[in-house]
Symmetry: C2
Subunit: 516 residues, 2 copies
């Protein structure tokens, strides 16, 4: 019997008619039933040349059987079975929301989002796409935002190798006929990303077309068919996230209620409940709506100041991902001119606010091959520092970093009583009075500290330990008013962990030991 | 015929039975019909001693007739009429939402909210209440937050003169019988506030009871009867706003869905659609819900930094009122220890973010008569500066001040191309390069400026005028790179207005005139 790993893809291909218009005429699905009794119905799709496919990603090991349904006799009543085996090493399953504001994989491994953006990388020439993959392989990024449709915009005035519909570019399309090769290509890239451990945050609509191809102004029936085709083809890939649109509010041809409709179509079509959000220009979508799993936000200013990002957590009570905080680069547009230092700083500000941040790069180039859109190579200096941040996050408590005293202490996050990151941003402190917000603390607890230089990527343990005593109403400080010495450069952080056991409170000579 | 001003109150009192339990047994309402055909149904209430009352606030001049309905014969089928006359000077009608983020009175007069808080002032002795009214009379405040129920909390451990239900204090109540005298007293105070031009933001529930009286833990039927009684009695007062609760999330006895239910009861009971919100502790209510007219927010940190407040505008797209930004005072609690300077600063930060702020005062006193809860006198220094701010707001464009380039320029608000406030906060600038964000601007426009010292309450015109030219992509600066001289102290602002006519571009000697 065929064996498929849990969260991998079982694919069924059946031969059927190539005539007529299979995209419109043929309904094709299958019901997959687990030996334990649970069942999932999955919609198939026409893949061209008389081939009908159906993909299923099983969520539990064991025997699965299936039976197809169709309005065509030859595609109906086909039965079969396969064995789902436990996931192999490196297969953690899809990413899900965890602990309200955070993410984890289905196998409970924490997922610490360090995203990047290459909007149109799959619509470039093959050599450039391979280079993008090579760059990603040695990068810290575990999510990439990428568009299903090609892009027509500043620095992006070229035709893609393939088009999503049958027809003649730039804008004579038969919107009733998809081009399977276009989607096969995207699938290949999504699969490669999966092998790299990178989530594909698929942007289904975007305004960077402006009528050139017209994919931003299709009619309602075409939009719906397109959404369902995308979901039927791609949802089985466990690394897929749905971003209904980029800068949705810049799509003048759509009405506000269209976005709700698109969300619901995706939600109802996707048997796996992949993550769903929508990215804004100037107007935010209401991420409190129930079909939004996390807030995907464009707002650089939200992570310029440490007290801003947390406000979005309060209003949405979902994971907050700042997918666009301006880009590291030097183009004249102000959304693409921040320094590497500023990019890294924004990641850290987002982190201490209990949220997640996305990277992008816009260094001006004669060939217009800019990472933010086309991929290629990284030319900036932020990505090694984001790798350092990722290491810090991966050594942090599983349930995610939380602001400890939100609205009051905007530089401290962690897990109360156990783990803290204190981020100093652009301050240049030479010492820090050991003091923590009261949540989870009790007198006599012992902590150890390390100084992190988030730019120079160093971790320096602080000698000694800190025993805390209650300091008035809201804070605890170290007994003896101990201070931590700091090197006085910007972008420093402290990592503070509760020490194992209280026996270390007394030094061998009987005196208390603290930081120097 | 009786004459009643538009937006004033027509009151009908009928005699009926005093026996049984009129609060439970009697249904009493009237339908008011305008000569033009529109009609409003208003619910009456039992006012004790066999008196049944019904209050109606007409929203248009002309003849109104009414007919009562009741399950009691003697209260049913009573007919009558009155004439509604146009509003007299000073009667602007109720406050409504205007231009998405702002407020105006029903007669289109702008309403610039400068709020204060005296939670329990109507539950103090009469002399203190009269003192509070006298203080308010000479204050800048045009809204007061106040609780319907008495308060049992730090600095507030005394019994009120009256109780809302029949029974024996502290907690033996007949929750089926309201105490009319209690509500008559509150109505008297609301009416006095109306005469002072002050909106009464009535807090219907609050947690500052902790079971002492038990008004924070009544059963669902009692809550509903209470809400309907409050609305039936008080909604006709045009200066009433409904705050469903203060720190709603601190009311442990209520479930999240209770708050939706309370909003809907108030919304359905109130024929006038008075403003509705709910105030938070640590968790925000979802102000995107359709029955919320404006966001009433507690979060001091939101106005500590100018870029924070605007984020709430983005997510709610309703007026944002920071009803609690910590209080000016010196009590040990950190929510009550900010300086007058900081209080005024927070009002200005909120203003340039296109939102509104509320004041409160918590100076420690031996007699525990603290303005924030009991009223009395103001002992702080912020209120004259808030009067200055109110003057500035009243001289600003009618539709409210908007951030001009939100997320990018957090210190500038106004009306593009016409009016600007630039607030420098804690910076101490000695000069300012004349430069404005591009929205609404075109080359050659002429502006004049004034320096406002928001703490010292001065307005100093800047000599000359500024002609603007386009500066790159996002900003316009004054031709000649002119600068405005500033006095170098904190809390400065600039008020910039477009000059009338372009003829002033040439000075009498033929040269262009700008700021010095």
């Amino acid at each position: 019997m065929t064996a498929v790993q849990q969260w991998d893809i079982f694919e069924l291909a059946l031969a059927g008619p190539a005539g007529g218009n299979p995209f419109l005429d043929v309904e094709f699905s299958a019901r997959f039933t687990h030996a334990g009794g649970s069942a999932v119905t999955v919609t198939g799709f026409y893949d061209g040349d008389g081939t009908y496919r159906l993909r299923f990603s099983p969520n539990q090991p064991g025997e699965w059987t299936y039976e197809t349904q169709s309005n065509l006799h030859e595609l109906s009543g086909q039965r079969g079975a396969f064995t789902c085996t436990p996931p192999a090493k490196g297969n953690h399953g899809p990413v899900r929301v965890h602990n309200t504001f955070h993410f984890q994989y289905a196998d409970s491994t924490p997922y610490r989002q360090i995203g990047t953006t290459c909007y149109a990388w799959v619509h470039q020439d093959d050599a450039l796409q391979e280079q993008t993959l090579a760059t990603l392989r040695s990068s810290p990024f575990n999510k990439i935002r990428m568009c299903v449709f090609p892009k027509w915009y500043a620095y992006n005035r070229s035709e893609p190798p393939r088009y999503p519909f049958e027809g003649t570019p730039p804008n004579k399309w038969d919107f009733t006929r998809f081009n399977p090769a276009y989607f096969q290509h995207i699938e290949k890239r999504i699969t490669q990303l999966r092998h790299l451990g990178i989530e594909a945050d698929l942007i289904i609509f975007h305004p960077y077309d402006a009528g050139h191809w017209g994919f931003d102004r299709m009619d309602a029936a075409t939009d719906e068919r397109y959404l369902k085709y995308v979901v039927a083809r791609l949802a089985a890939h466990r690394n897929v996230w749905w971003s209904i649109a980029n800068e949705f509010d810049f799509m003048d041809q759509k009405k506000p209620e269209d976005w709700d409709r698109f969300f619901r179509i995706v939600q109802e079509s996707d048997p796996y409940g992949r993550l769903r959000s929508v990215h804004n220009g100037r107007l935010l979508y209401d991420h409190n709506k129930p079909w939004v799993t996390h807030a995907s936000i464009q707002n650089g200013s939200a992570v310029e100041d440490a007290g801003r990002a947390v406000l979005y957590r309060d209003v949405y009570r979902k994971p907050i991902v700042f997918d666009e905080v301006k880009y590291e680069g030097n183009i004249p547009e102000r959304w693409g001119d921040i320094s590497a230092e500023e990019m890294v700083h924004r990641f850290w500000q987002g982190t201490v606010a209990g949220s997640y941040v996305g990277h992008g790069e816009t260094y001006k180039r004669d060939d217009d091959v800019i990472w933010w859109s086309k991929g290629g190579k990284l030319h900036g200096d932020s990505s090694p520092r984001l790798a350092f941040l990722r290491q810090v996050l991966e050594a942090a408590p599983c349930d995610g970093l939380e602001p400890i005293d939100k609205w009051q202490d905007v530089q401290t996050c962690g897990k109360p009583g156990e783990f803290y990151l204190v981020y100093f941003g652009k301050q240049r402190p030479t010492e820090w009075f050991f003091e923590l917000p009261r949540a989870g603390l009790s007198e006599g607890m012992i902590f150890r500290a390390e100084v992190l230089d988030t730019w120079n990527m160093s971790v320096s343990p602080v000698n000694g330990a800190f025993k805390i005593i209650k300091d008035g109403t809201y804070r605890y400080h170290a007994d003896g008013m101990s201070k931590v010495k700091l090197p006085g450069n910007p972008y420093l952080a402290l990592r503070i962990r509760r020490a194992e056991g209280d026996h270390i409170v007394h030094h061998e000579n009987g005196t208390r030991i603290y930081g120097e």
